[in-house]
Symmetry: C2
């Protein structure tokens, strides 16, 4: 199967802008699985750039313009704030250089703002808005790993606004990464991810702050931390570079989910404050229905 892909796309050069966890992990598997004959990388941070080259994530670190000009597929894998600034520049460059058959993808965790920012761009149809739903709480080229995307979902947002050939190429790319495609509207995506990803990060950050504050007085409090605590607070290691722009871009949805969540917390608070055993029992039993969803 990998052989087939090498034959069908033999000379393909993939340019990856942003060599962090997502860009770096894509680079590994796209090369290893024969989708890319050559990988060019762009990385603004020079420490990361040098690391990415030394680790061997990419064949060459180049300038943004070089990457756009020399790649057949361009993957934008930077934090969402930077992505919204870069995507129009990339499409502009394609227009200037008459490179109207190249495909541009992004990997951002919010989709509404990025699709809006190029909605009227003459080369909008060369851009495919995608969100590969994989990751860890670590970042940078050192966090890159093989098989990161295997069997996870990849969202295609507003795919009807893209050229079918560009979408097909993106589908082959994510198929190579072992991902299953899900198609939805960008705004729908942002609502969903507010519930199943963004809120988890906010609650985890808040939990970390709560316990760290207590640690100032009680130095040994973490001696008692159990596996359950670690699992709940793990996401609090996630970087502000990635998460500030996500929370800003998805502000309205995130606020709505935070408010719903705070209502649920208040239900628990009240039931506990009232020594309401039956009420607390009901709330927990209700929450236990999550068993049908996650193993």
């Amino acid at each position: 199967m990998e052989q087939n892909k090498i034959q069908s796309e033999p000379q393909q050069t993939v340019g990856i802008i942003g060599l962090g966890l997502i860009g770096g992990s894509m680079a590994i598997d796209l090369k290893r699985r024969g989708f890319a004959a050559r990988i060019l990388g762009v990385e603004a941070d020079c420490v990361n750039a040098s690391a990415a080259e030394k680790i061997g994530l990419v064949d060459e670190v180049v300038s943004l313009e070089d990457c756009i000009d020399r790649s057949d597929v361009i993957v934008l894998a930077v934090p969402v704030g930077a992505a919204v600034a870069l995507l129009p520049r990339i499409l502009d460059r394609l227009a200037e250089t008459q490179a109207r058959s190249k495909t541009v993808l992004d990997t951002c965790s919010t989709k509404g703002q990025i699709v809006r920012c190029v909605h009227y761009h003459p080369l909008r149809r060369r851009y495919v808005a995608t969100h590969p739903m994989a990751g860890t709480e670590y970042s940078g080229p050192w966090a890159a790993q093989p098989n990161l995307f295997d069997s996870r979902a990849c969202i295609f947002a507003n795919a009807e606004e893209s050229d079918p050939a560009a979408v097909a190429l993106a589908e082959r790319l994510y198929d190579t990464l072992g991902m299953r495609p899900i198609y939805m509207a960008a705004d729908q995506h942002d609502i969903h991810t507010a519930y199943v990803s963004h809120i988890s990060h906010v609650t985890s950050f808040a939990l970390a702050l709560t316990v760290l504050e207590k640690e100032r007085d009680e130095k040994h409090i973490f001696d008692l931390a159990s596996g359950g605590f670690s699992s709940t607070v793990r996401l609090a290691k996630s970087s502000p570079e990635m998460w500030v722009p996500i929370l800003m871009q998805n502000r309205d949805n995130v606020l709505h989910v935070i408010d719903t969540y705070l209502e649920k917390m208040q239900l628990f608070r009240q039931a506990i404050a009232d020594y309401d055993e039956a009420g607390t029992d009901r709330l927990i039993r209700d929450a236990n229905r999550i068993k049908k969803i996650i193993r």
Copy 2:
């Protein structure tokens, strides 16, 4: 080393009251590692009792009285509400039967109420209040597993109120399970666990309720759930049988931590609502200090 333990405590019978995750897992390793020559089990739920016997967790399922009379060490591993009701009865039985050299342990997640309920009992000193800090979100005899306690912490609460010989026996028991002992006051324990365990469960329950509510309208919302979400919501599978009494017994501490946590959530909410990038960045960076604690 296991050989040594067999030699030093060759005929020891351990009675375990409550054959769930904790009691069942203890039974496996105490037998396998030679601490117990024989394990007697007490289990109120007859389905669980029959399962525990069939799985082979215990040598024999017996009545509470039989267990007390025939065991050298009695481990009370039931939810904290039931434990507070049972512990005085167990000590009463020791007094009635003149069995003043037996040792009784509990494994409860809250310690203040249980130590208070037998504070003036004539056989108080035969009881050692302990909390082996290990577990999973599953319950019942089917959840029991070998090596559950290895390298985790075991709290000894108010150890000075117990007979040194009883404490020493409890120390050998937990040493056999591979646990490191930590000594503290019962009330201190309850404050600490409110921070590093109980709050995580409440936030996880509330998160599950939030997303499950949305799922009523958006059937496919969980298609997008990432590993991060699963990790944050995992504890929401925990049983009400265990958690209602913990939250009730540790009400004051849990409420205090919930309130601190809600303040942190409000800081995030406000920073996001205000599009305050610098403020959100500071909060996340602050939360990132959790990295020094958990890997």
